[in-house]
Symmetry: D2
Subunit: 340 residues, 4 copies
């Protein structure tokens, strides 16, 4: 079976596994208070071109989101996301489980519009409706699109107007930052967001998400929050190893670029076949519409996710990863050629 | 520096790292729905001699505790632990953060007495005092002691009397089951506890805690709970690999036995030097009392935790791990010989 | 100022205040364990034509909703409401504060459609999306409309299909049950809903909402839940007095009927003037659309709520209460006559 | 039956009921935004001799505690109380239900010692143990004792040292401030505490607790918190009426003084009979030790609470209220005379 199911189907980039093996005989302090974590943080800071941020390594995306959002919000505040936002639909109400409502706004190609946000925030004037405290966005989004710098700056402006914190879910930040449509840098994010995370799980790491906290308000006691939510790994140095490798010699960006390139190659080939696209994505998630009988045949040879089933046609998602190969795309395309 | 600081200071047993390297090129389904996880579960079930249990792999101990306890309790119920219980003191009020009180009973060498539990449960008769819903114990305990089968059966009896669920934190279950004072088997635990976890993090695994749910009431929707608390790892197969290795050829028990043997060797040697013990522990955690000036010297060569500081004497904790060596003990002893 | 602002603008029906004065010298047990509460419950049960229900007196609607919903749901479950549902918009995320998501469905004149519910419930098949546990509806709804027996039975059917509890917010249940469009009885509600409350605050009582629990699953430990949420009034007998009066000689229904009658008189008169209605409501809340300049003049003499402000026209809400008088309507109408 | 069961067994002081009857025909704004609430707040501020405080009217003590404490604390913080503190034992874990641990210190006659608090706060230095955020005390305490100004100032000093908020539960503040041992004024409380409430329920009011927020940090969005916890009464003016009456012509203090005087008369008479006291209380709760057979006889004529049952002797609690009469004490004493 050839897989286009996900970007977390393989253990990790070889550099990371090799490094773990090399360090096998070493002893480390627990809970992320070790020299590898320190080194990894220093390396990330260089890429951020910022020294004045706090960095913490968490294990997974849902965990990162719930710890950060619960840390930001006061009991009388909600977080706002677009309807397709991961925290709104695919995290089993993990934010609500910490006591906070997720307010929703319409998704514009997976993205939030500053105008919508402004209107919503302006409407919250009494104690019967929940106040807003934070804005949640993802880049790349749940459907593979990316924010432009201008879009982010517009959101920032509204956040400043209403005193909201801006938080970015970066589970697929690598794919976003290395795609052709992108005009953002890591340094831009530190200037625009109050906090965001740089995901490793979907970018060639074995596990790990690196939370970057820029706003001083949000820095104190974050480790306490992590511990409380079960997010402070005893063997924190394992996470340190991931980021120490990924932020050496641009590995993080090379892996991301690779998955984007394979995805764009796939996109071009599919276009060549006249396949309909559900969404124009510049990153490693591609959404296409196929006849149901075509999909049934494909399932025998390829793994992928059904996104929106229909009576005659269905949207499927094809995802590339650090381990994806051009040959896999070629096999898929030649198979499709016969079916269409 | 020679470390007696903890049993999670080294990455993992070589068998595990080797296996990860071997599987590097494979693709797996996400979220623990893969064949390695299936295989690992089957192997554990054989050791449990029980087929009718649910097994789930979580990432860490605090996480395992908070997911399970929140899953057990109704809003009007509390969990009971001894005062020294990990959830009561060292998990940053993670259980309370899910909305539940941790009621406490006195610790008898780290253990809960059935009599104390009976009295407490009997006292909860109206709606002003919180009801009890679950009992939390650990084996080995936070101070290295272990439960006997008789002690567990007495607790079970009280649990049955009041309709309480019995949950065991098995972060160091390997050390408990392989120590000389132990008279329990994994199968016994399935007959006595409603649920418990078998810890890998402190037993040679890289990460991972395997939750075993015996009571049918507690099985439904446990994966939903995991997801909600950020405890459902995208690359769940990494956890599967840990347990698949650990439950092949008794590796789990061999590693545990090794750490106990080194600890007991240490204990005998320390006794030979006339060192005072704070607690008689049959497992891999040893607590000794030393003059403060001795400790200051030791700190230059050895890593360990200060347990209870005093004005002239201090309790320190020495922990052995799967990677501990007899030579490390010898070095410590000869160093102490000079100092005492 | 003549008020059409709300149905809770006056202290209470005279019968209730008189009774409180009569009982001034008496002593009662605390926390609702007194003879007046017992008597009130017996009287309500007669009106319900059911003996096998539990009845509890709470202080307010938001409180009643959050206690009941938190009591129903398990941590991995959400409650579903229509978008206009009170718990979704006007209770400051009180349900989320107990750890549960409020899922929303479109409002059809303030009501939930069984078909929508069926579709939503069917879509929840994995652990990434929150499971449904309960359905929240209100009768009369937030915009004054009422459910028919057939509509309720359809919802019940879907609830049974998916194992969902059906909970009705009865803040304005009196208005619903006594309006011309209604074909439901209190007894019907006990057969269709798992639990519902009969509101006094908006129906002539000073304070109080009577929770009726029909489903045996939901009965145990409800007082514990109340206590925990600060909903167990020390002087519970004050609440008992409300219901003991309201369910003597049909007072509850007479007061409700009165507010409906005044509202329908108002409606007819407004229609006579050619006023546009935002919503066709058979109960004591009327929503009309007026030019902004008309509204500005009205504000000098009448109190009411602005529902949906617009640039030239605005929706306002006119509410009648147990204390509303025909003369007040006449004054409003003659004032409007001049303005239109 | 003559009652010494509680100070909330009678509806309300006549002044309050009369006022409610007088206001029967009036209309008020909802949710406490009315002129009676405003007037009541102004009157309380005069008694506080402080203008710069926020005052909110809540319905009950457990509710007041959980709203305020949840409002104070951040997720990584706990509140500290003495073991006998109401939030620790008699509020069904309502604070934990909002996600926060209640840490406990030993009770010294119902009171917290500054030294104990200092030690505990000093011990919280890492992320594994929960941080402290607030201190909860009650005056009068759960066993009738009162704080001296010096004791409160010592606690304040420790709070300042560690950045903790000091919150006082004033369910029986009237009894405290009017007892002979008291050297505190309401104004002192505004200088020493960050927030506290002045209880009406146990001081002659029908319902109501007035939260006084002194510290500016705690003022914003308190109404939002109230709404969210179901603590914002629709007919808030009912609460306003209570306090408007109670803080007119010293009624609050006269009622409190009356209950203390009856209690002290009772105390002297009991001493005259040689009855043993469990606790030396200067306020309206008296705790005495009687033989079990005496208690059995008393139960036929008097209502009271059994505090601590014993095999031969039992501690009972006798409480006086605004409605207690000297004759009731005389009857009890003459009955006891025959029994002892």
């Amino acid at each position: 079976m050839i897989t286009f199911r996900n970007d977390y189907s393989q253990i990790a980039a070889p550099e990371i596994l090799n490094r773990l093996c090399e360090l096998q005989a070493c002893s480390f302090n627990g809970y992320g208070l070790d020299e590898i974590c320190d080194s990894a943080k220093e390396k990330i800071k260089k890429y951020l071109q910022r020294d004045d941020v706090d960095i913490h390594f968490l294990v997974g995306g849902t965990q990162a989101n719930l710890v950060m959002i619960d840390g930001i919000l006061r009991p009388y505040q909600a977080v706002v996301a677009v309807e397709t936002g991961h925290i709104n639909v695919h995290e089993s109400a993990s934010v609500e489980a910490t006591g906070h409502k997720v307010e929703t706004l319409p998704s514009h190609n997976g993205k939030m519009s500053a105008e919508d946000l402004d209107k919503l925030a302006a409407s919250r004037t009494d104690e019967h409706m929940i106040r807003l405290g934070a804005v949640y966005i993802s880049d790349s989004t749940e459907i593979g699109t990316v924010y432009t710098k201008e879009e982010l700056l517009s959101l920032r402006k509204v956040c400043d107007k209403y005193g909201l914190y801006l938080y970015m879910d970066g589970a697929r930040l690598g794919a976003a930052l290395t795609c052709q449509e992108n005009d953002l840098t890591l340094n831009d994010l530190t200037n625009i967001c109050d906090c965001f995370y740089i995901g490793a799980t979907k970018n060639g790491g074995m596990i790990g998400e690196a939370m970057v906290i820029v706003n001083d308000d949000l820095k104190p006691y974050f480790r306490n929050l992590m511990k409380q939510k079960g997010a402070l790994l005893a063997k924190g140095y394992i996470l340190g190893v991931q980021y120490d490798c990924l932020f050496t010699d641009d590995l993080f960006f090379r892996l991301a670029k690779h998955e984007n390139e394979i995805a764009q190659y796939l996109k071009e080939e599919l276009k060549g076949l006249g396949v309909k696209f559900f969404m124009n994505s510049p990153t490693n998630q591609q959404f296409i519409i196929l006849k149901n009988e075509v999909i049934e045949v494909l399932k025998n040879k390829f793994e992928f996710e059904v996104w929106e089933p229909g009576e005659t046609e269905t949207v499927i998602r094809l995802v590339t990863s650090f381990a994806s190969k051009k040959e896999d795309v070629d096999t898929l395309i030649s198979c499709l050629k016969e079916l269409l």
